[in-house]
């Protein structure tokens, strides 16, 4: 076990609040966990040295940080500053049927519900998820009542100052037939370390539109997860845009807990310099007639490294499932590296499953074509890269977010060190 984990466990042992039973469970599991090494399958390509070396500390001073404004987006802001929930940034009046509150402030019936639901969607295997279980100081519970369609998105921002350590946790629950959009975002300054986990319970016929932006770069450690539980006829549409950092790791788990659930996930990673990004996307089809479509695309330049693990697990009862996963990667430099592993684990026979993965460089013919039209090589490269990613941006249902992220991506390509 590493010093870092030992100190985390020691700190967690001092916490005694409404989550005590769940924290104790997590600590039990952590005490029996091995610190991941190269031989640990889930961390095979992602060394944890940046965590081991991290000097980030939990800061207690009051700091004022605000999330970046997104043009044309009016959202319900749910802000964490250095791991602490900042109620001052939350709208005074929330739409009918929507409740956002700290777990410890809930009345006892709701608190019991929240306690029972806590950490039931996020699988126990996530080591840093367990750390988050044990250490997240402010756990925010979001509920949307049955049948309520929330027009404004909820934006969960985790903001970190220099060298700060933070562990944030949100639990979102959509009632039957409800509709909600959630945006998750981490904005961190240098040398920081954060774990940010959100669990979503999507009841029957509800619809969740989800975004996760991991655009912080540089000397940060960011480990997080978005975990979804879909009931009968529930639907979700998720878009993930990630840059890399010293260590950036994201786990998504989509569980088809009901029949006829439908999940779409579009993820893209654009890595430069010495960045690392690791996406572990797992889909569990536990029930019949579910559909899943995952599109994951990556561009990796300079000395960056991308890791993708896409697992689709079809359980015995999940007959008539249709699941597809596609991972396409472009390698931009001979120092860059891509490790991808699409996995299928199938125990039901009447299913249609497929996955594909490719790794290549930019299409030379397309590049040549653009050059013959008088476009410089570097510009042509940016255009082609952008086109490759833009196909997924175009699929974002929220126009304001797509418009916001496009120039950021274009800028990133312009700066990429390509040959």
């Amino acid at each position: 076990m590493s010093e870092w984990l030992e100190s985390a466990i020691a700190r967690a042992q001092g916490i005694n609040d409404w989550l005590a039973p769940k924290r104790a469970d997590a600590l039990d599991l952590l005490a029996n966990s091995q610190w991941p090494t190269r031989k640990t399958e889930a961390w095979r390509y992602t060394p944890l040295r940046p965590v081991e070396r991290s000097q980030a500390k939990v800061l207690t001073d009051e700091v004022n940080l605000e999330p970046i404004a997104i043009a044309d987006l009016s959202a319900i802001e749910l802000v964490f500053v250095n791991g602490k929930f900042d109620p001052s940034q939350l709208a005074k009046t929330l739409p009918d049927g929507v409740s956002i509150a700290l777990g410890r402030d809930l009345d006892s019936a709701k608190q019991t519900d929240a306690l029972n639901a806590f950490s039931t969607i996020k699988p126990q295997r996530h080591l840093f998820g367990l750390v988050n279980d044990a250490l997240a100081q402010d756990v925010v519970i979001v509920t949307v009542a049955e049948g309520v369609e929330v027009a404004e998105p909820i934006r969960i921002s985790s903001l970190l100052s220099q060298s700060a350590e933070s562990h944030t946790r949100v639990q979102v629950s959509l009632g039957a037939g409800a509709r909600l959009t959630v945006i998750e975002d981490v904005q961190a300054q240098g040398e920081s370390l954060n774990t940010a986990f959100v669990e979503y319970n999507v009841a029957a016929k509800a619809y969740l539109e989800h975004y996760r932006f991991a655009l912080q770069t540089g000397t940060n450690v960011a480990i997080g997860g978005s975990h979804f539980n879909l009931h009968d006829h529930a639907k979700m549409h998720s878009s993930i845009v990630a840059f890399g950092s010293d260590l950036s790791r994201l786990d998504t788990d989509i569980i088809h807990a009901g029949e006829y659930a439908d999940a779409k996930l579009n993820a893209m990673y654009l890595l430069d310099n010495k960045e690392l990004f690791d996406l572990h996307a797992t889909v569990e089809h536990a029930m019949a007639n579910g559909t899943t479509q995952e599109n994951v695309r990556g561009i990796v330049a300079d000395r960056a490294r991308a890791v993708f693990n896409g697992r689709i697990h079809i359980h015995r009862d999940a007959q008539k499932t249709s699941a597809e996963l596609n991972n396409r990667n472009l390698l931009m430099s001979d120092k860059a590296e891509i490790n991808t592993k699409p996995e299928l684990e199938i125990y039901a026979d009447d299913v249609k499953c497929a996955h594909g993965a490719t790794v290549a460089e930019i299409d030379k013919q397309a590049l040549y074509y653009l050059e013959t039209r008088g476009i410089s090589r570097s510009k042509a490269q940016v255009m082609l890269n952008f086109g490759f990613i833009n196909e997924l941006i175009d699929l974002m249902p929220n126009a304001a977010l797509a418009e916001w992220v496009r120039p950021i991506i274009r800028e990133r390509f312009a700066q990429m060190d390509v040959e």
């Binding site: 399958e41 015995r316 007959q319 390698l331 001979d334 590296e337 249609k352 497929a354 490719t358």
Partner: protein, 478 residues
């Protein structure tokens, strides 16, 4: 004729067996002493013993791998006897009447001639005349071409330098748990050397190597194709083979020097155990080849037997322009578990690899493809294409795919595709409409599914492989 028989009998002696210890079977257990005795029994050179001992010491430090998707009780390595002498004639069945009728029924379906049936079932026949003469002409022809094809024990005496140079050069001693164990205790296996520029005049098959019988559970094969040579090697046979040993941990090493080509085909149909998977063979094999410049290694396998299979025939594409191929059909039924696939390690420029894997699961079995394609920084312009298809028959089985793709060269192209589905109702309906019974229809569809792999098999195997699948699928449909 007597001369030929004498010759055949004498050859066993050449292999280094000393007649007075021949009847000995070791008491179960494994320590350095056992290894010294194996080595002494085979009258091996000192370096070979040292090599075995150092592998054994490495093995003691190693842990049994647990990453494969297979489940079996822990093996007690101390309860295995590491050397058993060939069975004496008295212990063998006297005639085919004493052989399990189920086995005979399968032979019949495969259309195996009576004499060969006796050989396969281990019937005590003084000399199988036809086979002996076949073997003799076979050896003469090979000698003419300068091809060396003998047991590895024989090669250790006759060609020690060749063996010493190449053994362990592709699969190092401590490569993995079972390979290390094999290095320590292997009892026999085949050695092939094809001289420069030679095209081996016939397909080499273990089946025709007369002293093949009882190579034991730790078999070791080493094939060296010198520059510009070509060889096609056939391992195993479609007929189910009797075997008393439950654990098989073989090592196969292939060396294809510049411009050489090795084609290695396997049909594996060992005892899969009863319907609860009891008593079947554990097949934990390490197979790997190294390709030098412009060389090519092609693995083709049809795996239908064993209760647990753990096998990844791989290619190290070291030389520029070298080519690696892997064609596989793996069928599991009953309680069988297979975790099989390949590794293609691209080191050289413009190296190419193709992986076609077809997995069929039926009954309560689990069938996994596990593969690795690695493009190293030097693999300029390298190319890989992988296709893994799985077919599920019945709702109690599993089909899994675990492909690892690692690329560190932007000019290398890797493509991986995998699909899983069941036998399509439309196809079944069409076949049944044409008057085929469901079993025939499924077997036809499965045959079509595997066609891409079957066409890579040498003629001898291709026909039988189809029949083998048909028999294996019996009772799985409906």
């Amino acid at each position: 004729m007597t001369e030929q028989i004498d010759k055949a009998l004498a050859r066993e002696y050449e292999a280094g067996f000393v007649s007075d210890v021949e009847s000995e079977t070791f008491v179960p257990g494994l320590d350095e002493d056992v290894i010294r005795r194996i080595s002494a029994m085979k009258n091996e050179p000192e370096w070979m013993l040292e090599w075995r001992l150092s592998a054994f010491r490495e093995w003691l430090e190693m842990e049994e791998p647990d990453w494969a998707l297979v489940d079996y009780p822990k093996i007690d390595f101390q309860s295995i006897s590491y050397y058993s002498a060939p069975k004496s004639m008295q212990d063998k069945p006297k005639s085919l009447d004493e052989v399990d009728p189920e086995l005979l029924r399968t032979y019949e379906k495969l259309g195996i001639p009576l004499v060969e049936q006796q050989m396969l079932a281990g019937v005590a026949v003084d000399a199988v005349f036809d086979s002996v003469s076949v073997v003799t002409t076979f050896r003469e022809k090979l000698e003419e071409a300068g091809v060396i094809f003998c047991s590895i024990s024989e090669a250790l005496h006759k060609y020690p330098d060749l063996v010493r140079k190449y053994i362990g050069s592709v699969v190092p001693k401590k490569d993995n748990y079972y390979a290390a164990l094999n290095c320590a205790v292997f009892t026999d296996g085949s050695f092939v050397y094809i001289p420069k520029g030679t095209r081996c005049p016939m397909e080499l098959s273990t089946y025709f190597r007369i002293n093949e019988q009882n190579t034991g559970q730790f078999e070791r094969t080493l094939i060296v194709a010198d520059e510009g040579s070509h060889v096609s090697y056939l391992e195993g046979c479609t007929a189910p083979q009797r075997d008393e040993n439950q654990l098989h941990a073989a090592v196969v090493e292939l060396v294809a020097l510049d411009n050489a080509e090795i084609k290695y085909s396997t049909v594996q149909n060992w005892y899969p155990g009863d319907e609860n998977g009891k008593g079947g063979i554990y097949n934990f094999v390490t197979k790997r080849g190294i390709c030098h410049t412009n060389a090519k290694i092609s693995w083709t396998q049809v795996e239908t037997g064993s209760s647990v299979t753990w096998k990844y025939p791989s290619c190290i594409l070291k030389g520029d322009n070298s080519v690696g191929e892997f064609y596989s059909v793996a069928l599991t039924r009953g309680r069988q578990q297979a975790d099989t696939g390949t590794k293609m390690i691209h080191l050289g420029k413009n190296t190419k690899s193709t992986i076609i894997s077809k997995g069929i699961s039926a009954g309560r079995s689990n069938n996994s493809y596990r593969g690795l394609v690695r493009m190293n920084p030097g693999a300029q312009g390298a190319r890989n294409y992988t296709q893994c298809d799985s077919l599920l028959i019945g709702d109690q089985c599993g089909a899994h795919t675990f492909p690892y793709v690692e690329s560190r060269n932007p000019s290398a192209i890797v493509e991986h595709e995998a699909t899983t589905s069941k036998v399509s109702d439309e196809q079944l309906f069409l076949c049944r409409q044409r008057g085929l019974d469901p079993e025939k229809a499924v077997s036809m569809i499965v045959n079509g599914f595997c066609k891409e792999v079957f066409k890579e098999l040498p003629m001898e195997f291709a026909v039988e492989a189809g029949k083998l699948l048909e028999i294996s699928l019996e009772g799985s449909v409906g």
